[in-house]
Symmetry: D2
Subunit: 361 residues, 4 copies
Amino acid sequence: MPIARVHRIAAAAPDDVSGIEAAIAAGAIAPAGVLAIFGKTEGNGCVNDFSRGLAVQSLELMLRRHVGAAAGKVCLVMSGGTEGGMSPHWLVLERAEGGGGQGPALAIGSVHTSDLPSEHLGRLGQVAQVAQAVREAMAQAGITRAEDVHFVQVKCPLLTLARIAEAHGRGAQTATTDTLKSMGLSRGASALGIAVALGEIPMAQLSDAAICADLSLWSDRASCSSGIELMGHEVVVLGMSDAWSGPLTIDHGVMRDAIDVAPVRAALARAGVAADALGEGADDRLVAVLAKAEASRSGLIRGCRHTMLDDSDISSTRHARAFVAGALAGLVGRTDLYVSGGAEHQGPDGGGPAAVIVRRG
Amino acid sequence: MPIARVHRIAAAAPDDVSGIEAAIAAGAIAPAGVLAIFGKTEGNGCVNDFSRGLAVQSLELMLRRHVGAAAGKVCLVMSGGTEGGMSPHWLVLERAEGGGGQGPALAIGSVHTSDLPSEHLGRLGQVAQVAQAVREAMAQAGITRAEDVHFVQVKCPLLTLARIAEAHGRGAQTATTDTLKSMGLSRGASALGIAVALGEIPMAQLSDAAICADLSLWSDRASCSSGIELMGHEVVVLGMSDAWSGPLTIDHGVMRDAIDVAPVRAALARAGVAADALGEGADDRLVAVLAKAEASRSGLIRGCRHTMLDDSDISSTRHARAFVAGALAGLVGRTDLYVSGGAEHQGPDGGGPAAVIVRRG
Amino acid sequence: MPIARVHRIAAAAPDDVSGIEAAIAAGAIAPAGVLAIFGKTEGNGCVNDFSRGLAVQSLELMLRRHVGAAAGKVCLVMSGGTEGGMSPHWLVLERAEGGGGQGPALAIGSVHTSDLPSEHLGRLGQVAQVAQAVREAMAQAGITRAEDVHFVQVKCPLLTLARIAEAHGRGAQTATTDTLKSMGLSRGASALGIAVALGEIPMAQLSDAAICADLSLWSDRASCSSGIELMGHEVVVLGMSDAWSGPLTIDHGVMRDAIDVAPVRAALARAGVAADALGEGADDRLVAVLAKAEASRSGLIRGCRHTMLDDSDISSTRHARAFVAGALAGLVGRTDLYVSGGAEHQGPDGGGPAAVIVRRG
Amino acid sequence: MPIARVHRIAAAAPDDVSGIEAAIAAGAIAPAGVLAIFGKTEGNGCVNDFSRGLAVQSLELMLRRHVGAAAGKVCLVMSGGTEGGMSPHWLVLERAEGGGGQGPALAIGSVHTSDLPSEHLGRLGQVAQVAQAVREAMAQAGITRAEDVHFVQVKCPLLTLARIAEAHGRGAQTATTDTLKSMGLSRGASALGIAVALGEIPMAQLSDAAICADLSLWSDRASCSSGIELMGHEVVVLGMSDAWSGPLTIDHGVMRDAIDVAPVRAALARAGVAADALGEGADDRLVAVLAKAEASRSGLIRGCRHTMLDDSDISSTRHARAFVAGALAGLVGRTDLYVSGGAEHQGPDGGGPAAVIVRRG
């Protein structure tokens, strides 16, 4: 019976894998069991964020030393941007073989897709590819009911000028020629793919035109990050399964807006943890917080104007990550949170899903 | 017996004074009683933040239409930077003459100083000038005990290349030639001036060298913002006085670090408001939150590394405002907060004072 | 017979009009003759550039002191962004009544339009309004042939979230909901309006869809800047007219790409000035350089990749202004140049028009 | 008799070494002869520029595949920042063994130093270490006279919060605790080390206090870049030597300010190339331009104010690179230039050395 282990490890730089190496050396991590590594890296989280590429290359080199070619099967999902006080760190997701125990418990499934043709990015072709991958990852995790899925992380590609030119060279038209905008379209289509796989939205209800336009369509468990360092998708499903055992549990809530921490407080409570008791080091039961952040397109938060979309110096995604991370860090008393930006179709406009992984008492 | 009134009014732009005009037209504000206007404006909050200058010019033109030359006596304290989801707004502080009532209540005193010679900026000369102004503002507010002061806002000058050159032309050396750094030195010296006036630190214990260097020296009620649009200081003291009446009360706490919201929750509770009940529009008793934000120089928050000081794209003051505003907005459920950056000697390293103004039930 | 005077005056800040005041006091400028003031101000030149609004407010206050309500007729065209080594300055364009002399000489015409409904921005409605205004300004300047026009400066509006909401409230759809993008659409439609007025492109050849999309359509004398501080257009036409006299002459060239300074060198030569002799203070015959800058959408300059469109930290308009200003400053040996960003339909992709005003020997 | 070869190769991303691989595969580059690779990468060129680290890691992996452990001897000098229209590229410097020919010709020497203790950074300890390394590199290149050296490139370390803490932990004090400032101090001390080695300034004339303070001290051939990815120095000397042959020659000039292109024009002329004939692809004799850029501390360029040092949104080094690159690209008609920022003690205030490598006809 498998056991999910989640290791939260500080990173001193995007290429600092020494903490993971140390955990492997100490026997705390068995490298062959690593399914995925999520990284919060300190770039700008936008098009020209090279901290993600540096992290991926460094993690791959490290994994290759331990498991050889099997390193290529590990999902490496780097989310750039540790704005505000967020702390760069790795979340190593491991499937260990346990000696029994009692389910249900946290279960993990991970899948790599093939490369996405650039003209499919931000369109139904991407939605379909992601939906299929989510179903495969659920099966791999032994999760049979969609309601047992609490978080789906997708790493998806973006367009660069070179990729746009490549598509044009084949006579294909990309959904946009704006590279920053392509990040949003890719995240949005991926999120709708998750929604389709989880039965939240029927595929027939979607169209190319709805992607990043009809904000009433969203998944409450999708988290998508786009990056320059891949051409396909990496999909990781986290949920509860009777087929897994161990001390970890996961739950989620949906933040209605950027400061709506009550649903996260409630999810923690359901998992047996009081938010107000956290943050002083005494209680280490909170293993991870995974959340999305974005600037509401309405330009408002609870009726008050925000300026994130009018700031030409700082991308709104950077503003939003800093602000939402502050709200969550104020709640849980810790800054090594996985808050990623760009929440198109991931929760309601200006809000987003938030999952908590907790070690049961 | 005077009554303090605090009007929180949204601003659609740095030159949007229409909300204040409307309140005057409606009789809600008597312009002759306005002692100070605090503004949270949407510039970068750093050296080249012209939103502050535009706001000040617009407010002055507006006040001049109503009270003529007396407009020059109103303290206009613009704090640039509405990073994250903060909402640009004005806080109009008014002294009204009441019909009796019972003290103690919120009391306001305000003072303008003469211009500061640029070579005194960031040195003991500035400390002494600010300390004297705080004492005058306390007297004006009818506050006799230092412990009844809960918040002192100082707007202080900064150095520009032209001002540095002017001082050099007179044979004087400024404390720095780095214009961004001058903002911190000015805030730091002003904060120490407040600490001296409130009896927190004896003047004899200070030296030029300690300013912005010895972080163990701090006031727990100082809030200082520097701006290009003035050459002297504007000092506003907020506290409780038996000589004032009316429904408003003020209290404060000190955030130990950027995510330490517990002292603010406690201050609200002492003032009779439960933080968790706020934010849904039902409870309008919270009139204002005034707080400071900064990146800890240690590079850590509760042991975890932050990257604010290593980011050459975004000033750490902008990161810190977004993050601390997020923490406070998560607590009180509102985004029109007055969180200003640069907290040198204003609370402990990485933390800062936070005051709440509340309408009693 | 009118004489055009062009005064180049340094600005120490966006609200520093002291240089203009001094010139008026010295009798060098007759305020009643001022038709337009171009300003290069030091904001970011993008949506949240408040240096432009501060400059306009300060210029208006100054003009009002001298000419009263007639101040409203002066075109105030602020171009934000002095990236690289560009120097903030004013160009005061004055129509003086001369004592005779011989034409042709520099002629100036200026026109204000009514407010543009936000749903017309970036569409044919804006094109038509600007074309009509250019024709009026030519008539006012006494320029009868389109080929005698060498530079048309248009200041045009942009969309803010509030303006978009206002249009939506009336049931109207704006061309975009992206505020930064609206700046480009407004400049592009204005440039096509100039092209129509100058006979470069027939109106019938245009469509909404072509605006900012069909880059083969461009004017070689258009310069458009968008700003938050106006809702209509301000149009200034500069050209040669037999009806004007005086020492000033104007000519122009079209830069094919960001580093193509040869056409500017040629225009200077036609006006009697050798570029290589400039820049050392000895030769003050160069009165003004007015040029456009933008990042080529191809992503290339002479076959080499640039990264301006992939940089999420700095707007491509800021990169382009700094770079083109460097190329021109290297040519003419001076940094107080009027290089404005965003050259949609203003010259070929990645290039742009450049005009020179020269004092004849 | 050795022959210097310089290969200019475009990079599509910081980890794109495919162009170098292709040149090796085609036999154009013999990997065993590569002494150094200079890279212009597309990060921000400041503290958190991970494009440099990614490039170094990618180049090392590539070199290791070809030459094994000898890869560690190649100097990899990445200069971040391709602001404006600069084009990311590699300059591969190779020492080939030729079949005779006639000197003098371009000669190359390269040296790695040991790690610099962080408390020596920006102080005389760093000056001495660099001076010694320059002498070794000259000897290696067979250059005996200092006047035959035309360019010395040093890659030097910077301080991070972690490195500062490490030094403090040993009881040592670093020259600064400001990480961005440490980049300047490191470049400045390295430049003075070059000046000492070239006999421009005697070591006895220097002091810790003069570093980055006394701007009258400078080398006219120094180019220093600091980066997070190394702890010691990499030193590459380029000059003319009778012991080398081949078609390449090098010369240099000193730009007096950011727009002073005349000395570069003169250096090209001495090397037999007319600047005005370049840039149209017809003339490929210009192999490389290597120059420094910085904002003048005086705040002026030829008497006109610049705003680079007052801009809190964009580092002055980014402004300066964009602007100087524009001036040089306008001169030579090409954008793949190696313009690096931060010119402390590298040429006069606001100016800097510029070297040209030319293929003789």
